[in-house]
Symmetry: C2
Subunit: 457 residues, 2 copies
Amino acid sequence: MSSFPKQLLQSPSGFPDLGPGAAIAQRRILDVIRTQYERAGFVPIETPLVERPAVLLAKTEGEMSTQVYGLRLMNPAPDAQDDSKDLALRFDQTVPLARFVAANQHEIDFPFRRYVIGPVFRGERAKDGRYRQFTQADIDVIGDGKLELLHDAEIVSIISAIFTELDFGSFTVRINNRKILQGLLVDMGVTTEKISEAIAVVDRIEKVSRSVIVSDLGQLGVSDAKAVDFINMLTGKMSTDETLAALAARVPTCSADIFGEGVSELERVIAGVRSLGVDENRFRIDLSIARGLDYYTGTVYETQFDAYPDLGSIASGGRYENLAGTFTNRNLPGVGISIGVTRLLLRLIKAGLVDATIKTIAPVLVTTALGLEENASTYLDYARRLRESGIATEVYMASKPLGKQLQFADRRRFKLAVIAFEDEIASGNVILRDMKTGEQEVVKLTDLVQKVQRAIA
Amino acid sequence: MSSFPKQLLQSPSGFPDLGPGAAIAQRRILDVIRTQYERAGFVPIETPLVERPAVLLAKTEGEMSTQVYGLRLMNPAPDAQDDSKDLALRFDQTVPLARFVAANQHEIDFPFRRYVIGPVFRGERAKDGRYRQFTQADIDVIGDGKLELLHDAEIVSIISAIFTELDFGSFTVRINNRKILQGLLVDMGVTTEKISEAIAVVDRIEKVSRSVIVSDLGQLGVSDAKAVDFINMLTGKMSTDETLAALAARVPTCSADIFGEGVSELERVIAGVRSLGVDENRFRIDLSIARGLDYYTGTVYETQFDAYPDLGSIASGGRYENLAGTFTNRNLPGVGISIGVTRLLLRLIKAGLVDATIKTIAPVLVTTALGLEENASTYLDYARRLRESGIATEVYMASKPLGKQLQFADRRRFKLAVIAFEDEIASGNVILRDMKTGEQEVVKLTDLVQKVQRAIA
């Protein structure tokens, strides 16, 4: 008798189980992401989930450094050479990329376009929407010494292709350039040392009231009047071309050269986005996008569902000056984005935008109405025909009445059931049942594959 | 200046990095496995990589229990609620399945067919072909109380479909039933308590000499003459039907009832395998297959490449009485297999059976012979056309002479390059270059998609 405590059968807090419904939905999302990453010429690499602490902690500071999980052998054998203290779980996909590129820089052909889809681990307190293990789907392009701005443009077309194909509703890729923000802040009198702090203020522009932003900028030496102008500029609803025109008009009067640089970069990125045929409704310039991290130095992106801003950014990233400065002297600029798939998936399910009640990938269930003793070979032959034509097919292989088998098909949401009694078997026919409507059709066995293909097309 | 020690840029021992070539090869293998698992009606679940030690160690003994990696926060924040001592990394895919099924037994529709493809972790000493993190691709069917033998047959058809599609050379699924071995051993006088030990002897039958087996069985009370007969029976090269006939002939004289049970089970499994249309050359009965673990109680499988027996078994598994006896009183018999993908991949690369030198998934590189300053929109438009037709396409977006760009295409092993100078652009043409032959053809831009589709078909 098992006396195992029931509560220990739940997966640990922050490490969610995905049952078939959610796992099937996730699989579809990951397939679309991967296909679009590959369509744009990205290639996979697979670094281990385990890295050396020396690598993970080389440049990691603040909160993140408190969240790194190290490994330890729980019950090492007496003669074990236990080196587990030199092992830890990755917390993002960027540090492993930096290590890999630094280690293999002489074999890599730059520009290096890599995608990676896999789990990362963070020892933070588990709360709603925060997970300790979650799947990140990243792309980055790494250049050798320099990297053309068209790569930044291409990233927008990839995000757009992914969420268009996923079809969860309309979305907008919001594009900015940190140099524009930096230039405006310098122009308003923020000193170089305070720029990071000021950008952190901008980062909260959608979350707090205007007066808080004005006051916070005031602390950094910006007059109220200038702060209000600044906020108006950042949050004004203008078209892409209006924004570009307003920015261009500002260049001659802006005291900070970096502003003009940012505007010119943004212009090139937008031109590239258009050359790549991205729908004008799927992107816009949003001067208030800052991305908190100091890491980003040029283009930055966030992406939102238009009808669900509360879901937060579903694909974010940007341009950085140097991927692997900690690990090599070679200058390796990059641009990339990350899609937090676990969070996205579980929020979409919660919002009812993803159906996690479909518990089969196979569209067809071959039922076994006459049981398995004498007619197994007949039923298995039906499945063989369908599978050999590439149609995913499950055979119901337990001894239950047909009614129970159809209930099983219903609950799992199969599209079609194949049914055969003595008469059908004798006459070389089967019954094809549409599980949604309950309609049944007698079809010749030799037509089965074709009928099914038509029904699931 | 970076002074990061170079040797620390290598991934830790036992945790291999896969660069683009190996990762692309792995991706193809995993795609084939997944597609065939799904075609047979299996559904994914995703349990976390992290489980509670109480779950992982509940029934894990011996060497494995010394190899479990626990987690620990490396630098916990002062106010952290550190529960990392209750977290550990899974070492296989079966214990998490058992926990998941026990936890969700009232929501699961049995028979429950799940597949899982993902990493597991074992803290063993890293040596050739042993990894500390490796990818396992498993399927299991779990029944409620009982489970039809046809499931055992279906597993053979799935292994066969996978390795037929992968096309790494001919292979054989070797099938046995532990009850047959058990019956023969009992009939020779091995006592019930010594059965496990005797099966461990059988498990080594391909690895050590006959005389060692005879002597080891002698220690368990088997006479030399009987041991020799037994070895002859187990290792005789007979056809499937000859073996079945020989087994059937033995049933009346065998003193152990379990022998007859095993023979009858094996007969049903083989009949099912044939109903599912598996090629007769892709499977055979091998009475010497034992699978070391006590876990297995009926059908057992191993799979080998015919020309590469040294690669070992590439897909192994079998039938077990009860999946989750540790976690629930419900009786949940199952049958399953596991494919150790990391080991398979790296051995296939080493044996030259898998080409890991192709470093692109996209077949087409759009070159940028005129540079990116003025003609970017033209080149990006070529890529847009190809991508919108589903053709994976990379654009060369660095400023290099065309010759360098073609060398890049060569090294990465692109199939086609698209080239355009002023003349082509002015006349609405592009040059399509076959990277293998070097042949070039001028094609109308409006025909580009069709030409490329034909060239890569």
